[in-house]
Symmetry: C2
Subunit: 254 residues, 2 copies
């Protein structure tokens, strides 16, 4: 069944590698390396993860890792899947809209728990067991909608992309706020004042109105639960409204 033509990267994601009986026995294994790397990333972000640093933590040279993870790129994929964890189990009592809301909010909290996940590039379709589990959960929620497979995929992708994007922004904002004194450009108030001086009122009338509206003078308190942040909810609700319209049109066809 799990035949030989499965690429080694997939095998490692699903932990299907077997220790060989011959040769020097390994001190390391994929799981150990990836967990160490995730620890480092949780502390220092993606930039804090280097083959050397991971290896040093394990009391081993950098090159030793290559036996088990192939390349740094692959290590990052393994880290991504591991840190993704498992989605909440869909509640069959809920309708699809509540189900997707719960799903998206859980995803948002995942990025909050491991902000470095939002730094990673996107690798096409889900490949590892945890990513597949997230996809499975969303598909289960969408099952009663009667959408076609392509539509379901597009919908999930749309939602996941939104959560990723808004997580990134929130994380960047928080990081910027921490360095406020160093880098005042990004401070909201300073932003409005500085740009206000540069913007030609005739060429940028709307921007000018926006900057003088006082919107940037408010100090937004960082919400305790990022999944309840009003800015996050705004986009989520728009998205769900748009998806709802699609579901309605599908339902009225049938």
């Amino acid at each position: 069944m799990a035949a030989d033509d499965v690429p080694i990267e997939l095998k490692r994601l699903w932990r299907l590698t077997t220790r060989s009986r011959t040769g020097r026995p390994a001190e390391l294994d994929v799981e150990l390396i990836v967990r160490t790397a995730v620890d480092l990333a949780d502390r220092d972000g993606v930039a804090g993860v280097s083959m050397t640093k991971v290896a040093n933590r394990l009391g081993v040279t950098a090159m030793a890792l290559y036996t088990h993870v192939g390349s740094k790129e692959h290590l990052l994929e393994l880290m991504q899947d591991l840190a993704s964890g498992l989605p909440p189990k869909p509640d069959p009592e809920q309708d699809w809209r509540d189900g997707l809301t719960v799903w998206a909010q859980a995803l948002r909290r995942m990025y909050d728990a491991h902000p470095w996940l939002a730094e990673l590039p996107i690798h096409g379709p889900p490949l590892g067991p945890h990513q597949v589990a997230w996809m499975e959960a969303a598909l289960q929620v969408l099952e009663p909608t009667g959408l076609e497979w392509g539509e379901k995929l597009n919908t999930i992708n749309l939602l996941a992309g939104y959560v990723l994007h808004s997580s990134r922004q929130a994380i960047d904002l928080a990081a910027g706020r921490q360095a406020r004194k160093v880098d005042r450009v990004r401070d909201e108030r300073a932003y409005g004042r500085a740009l206000g001086k540069l913007i030609d009122r005739d060429r940028f009338p709307q921007m000018n109105a926006l900057l003088t509206s006082g919107l940037f003078e408010r100090t937004a308190p960082p919400p305790s639960d990022p999944a309840e942040d009003p800015d996050f909810r705004f986009g989520l609700d728009r998205l769900l409204d748009g998806i709802a319209k699609l579901c309605q049109s599908r339902q009225s066809e049938a």
Copy 2:
């Protein structure tokens, strides 16, 4: 007016730096450096841009750049703004929905013209003249909707985030397809077949159904105009439907 308390980074974005009359005259200037860096990025992506390479192209040492751009991070910001170009002028005849569609499609084509723009991290609010112009254009389109400033901002952000995300995916997919023989994991057919062997039918029933649906067997022809790609249009239409509902509720209040 353009007072001294404007940070140097902003001044450079708006090309407000003045050559001093004393001292050794500069061979370089910001515009020249940034244009050279953009050329490099157009050819080789963000990874192809290093201070050394940019400097060599200009017949100068890497350190010479630092007089003009401060740091590589700042150079990337300058590149981003320059390559963003100008948005299409909003047509006052169009309603907001057509206007946003045009805007989003133009943004999509921008990422197609400079794919490396999609690789860059997000830097909070728009700071440079071109980015401000994009924002201004979107605000002008939204002007008749009667939305509040915060809603307009959230809406634009939602849309821009969507275009960025789907551009990234399309670019990654195309890049993966180019390296198909090397990296078959991401080839769509191979994806379905390989994952099919790993996935437990009981634990992942929906994924299993999806993989056996034949959806991944189709070969999607790459569209000539990315802004007309059906996958892109799908998300855009959902988003606009969601925004339309918000506008309606605002209108019925008034």
